[in-house]
């Protein structure tokens, strides 16, 4: 939720405000689109922090988990685990020790990423400025590196399982021999490139769409929070002196509350979608044709 008056001390222009908010805390300014000497400290920090929060909470419960009467926390954790387990079992018919824990991790971790959006947009960046850090982005799922980190790992698993279960020939055959096939060798040879053109892009687009769907939704959500914050940004403390200022403050708070609720829902939905698509891709990878 936006904090009105948050940046009153440094009344900047809307453009400066937005740009400031979409700049990462990095070790050095990136040169070009691909630059592996750069690290987004903020994304890495919050990503690991939330991994520790999720892993720590679930590990603490798992260590003390009893088959007796569960406490509230254990009940909650079991509820999440069983829900994920049922989602996996509905979609994935095979047996895998990996896919259910993977789904749980994705759902909880991404949900925690997305819920970071609900922390007042200027709160942590301003606190960071107090500590001498120029920029801070606290929602890891609005970082392309983070979402691609997830989707490419999932994609690598899909490749691994496809080759492991179908064999390299079977896996390649899925792209080369469908949907057009013929018993005639010459015709078949003609069909292969067409099949590849049709099938390969949709397969390769998977990690892209998986990452960008999450990124787009969460980035848009964050942008709307920034825009809501802009309502009173340029007025600063002067907003308290005029009637218009008060109206704007009330509108800002009301819209902020509504958007927070909506964004929490979107965050939950996107975490769920990311998990379900992961399960679907992996179950397709381990299906025999």
């Amino acid at each position: 939720m936006p904090m009105f008056l948050a940046r009153a001390a440094e009344a900047s222009s809307p453009t400066e405000y937005i740009v400031h908010h979409i700049t990462y805390l990095t070790n050095e300014a990136p040169r070009g689109v691909l630059d592996f000497s750069v690290v987004n400290y903020d994304s890495v920090f919050f990503s690991i922090l939330l991994a520790v929060v999720f892993g720590g909470l679930f590990y603490a419960v798992a260590r003390k988990a009893t088959a007796g009467v569960p406490g509230r926390l254990q009940g909650f954790v079991e509820w999440v685990v069983e829900w994920v387990d049922s989602q996996v079992k509905e979609t994935f018919s095979g047996k895998s020790r990996l896919i259910a824990p993977l789904s749980l991790t994705i759902f909880c971790w991404v949900l925690l990423f997305n819920l970071m959006d609900l922390i007042p947009i200027d709160l942590l960046p301003n606190a960071a400025r107090g500590a001498g850090l120029g920029h801070l982005r606290i929602v890891p799922s609005t970082d392309l590196n983070v979402v691609f980190g997830l989707s490419l790992t999932v994609f690598a698993l899909v490749l691994y399982y496809s080759v492991k279960i179908k064999g390299l020939g079977g896996f390649v055959g899925e792209f080369a021999l469908r949907p057009f096939a013929s018993r005639n060798v010459v015709l078949q040879a003609l069909c292969v490139p067409i099949n590849l053109i049709m099938e390969l892009p949709s397969f390769l687009a998977r990690p892209l769409s998986l990452a960008l769907r999450l990124y787009g939704n969460m980035f848009a959500g964050e942008m709307v929070f920034a825009l809501i914050a802009l309502l009173t940004l340029t007025m600063g403390a002067a907003a308290l002196a005029t009637a218009t200022g008060w109206v704007l403050i009330v509108v800002q708070i009301a819209v902020g509350v509504v958007w927070s609720l909506f964004d929490a829902f979107i965050g939950l939905l996107q975490a769920f979608i990311f998990m379900i698509l992961t399960i679907i891709y992996l179950s397709q990878a381990s299906e025999h044709h």
Partner: protein
């Protein structure tokens, strides 16, 4: 907006986190859930069995109770029969004994009466003789008048 080392770090953290959850979290939590499910199933089965056993035991106890009641009834009946028999026996014995005592007493009485009569008769005879001898002033020969005296005694 660029792709950088963060991507690689994110992938490594992701893999480590999934490995951790897979080894240290998932099996324990789901294990606890499955263990509880098993326990509940066992508990329900045990409750079901217990109820069946209870029903059987009730049936059995009913049978035993009914048998016991019948047996008690029989015993009471038998006892009553035995008692009435004994009373009957006692009555018969008592009545026989009474009869016997009565008969013995009667006999005793008859005997006593006969003896008394006899002695009386003798006394009367003696008295008659004495009286007669006094009247006649002479000795009556007992032997001579024996049959006369006997007749007299028999008449008394």
């Amino acid at each position: 907006m660029n792709i950088n080392l963060t991507l690689i770090i994110q992938m490594i953290v992701f893999v480590l986190l999934v490995a951790f959850v897979m080894r240290k979290v998932w099996p324990h939590i789901l294990g606890a859930v499955e263990e509880r499910t098993r326990k509940i199933a066992l508990g329900l089965a045990a409750a079901e069995k217990g109820q069946q056993e209870l029903a059987q035991a009730e049936k059995r106890s009913d049978v035993v109770l009914r048998e016991a009641r019948e047996r008690a009834h029989q015993i009471v009946e038998q006892a009553q029969r035995r008692a009435s028999e004994m009373i009957e026996h006692a009555k018969i014995a008592a009545s026989a004994e009474g009869q016997r005592l009565l008969t013995a007493a009667q006999q005793q009485i008859d005997l006593e009466a006969a003896r008394a009569r006899d002695s009386l008769r003798k006394d009367v005879a003696q008295l008659a003789i004495d009286t007669a001898s006094k009247l006649l002033e002479r000795e009556i020969d007992a032997r001579t008048h024996a049959d006369l005296l006997d007749k007299l005694a028999a008449r008394i």
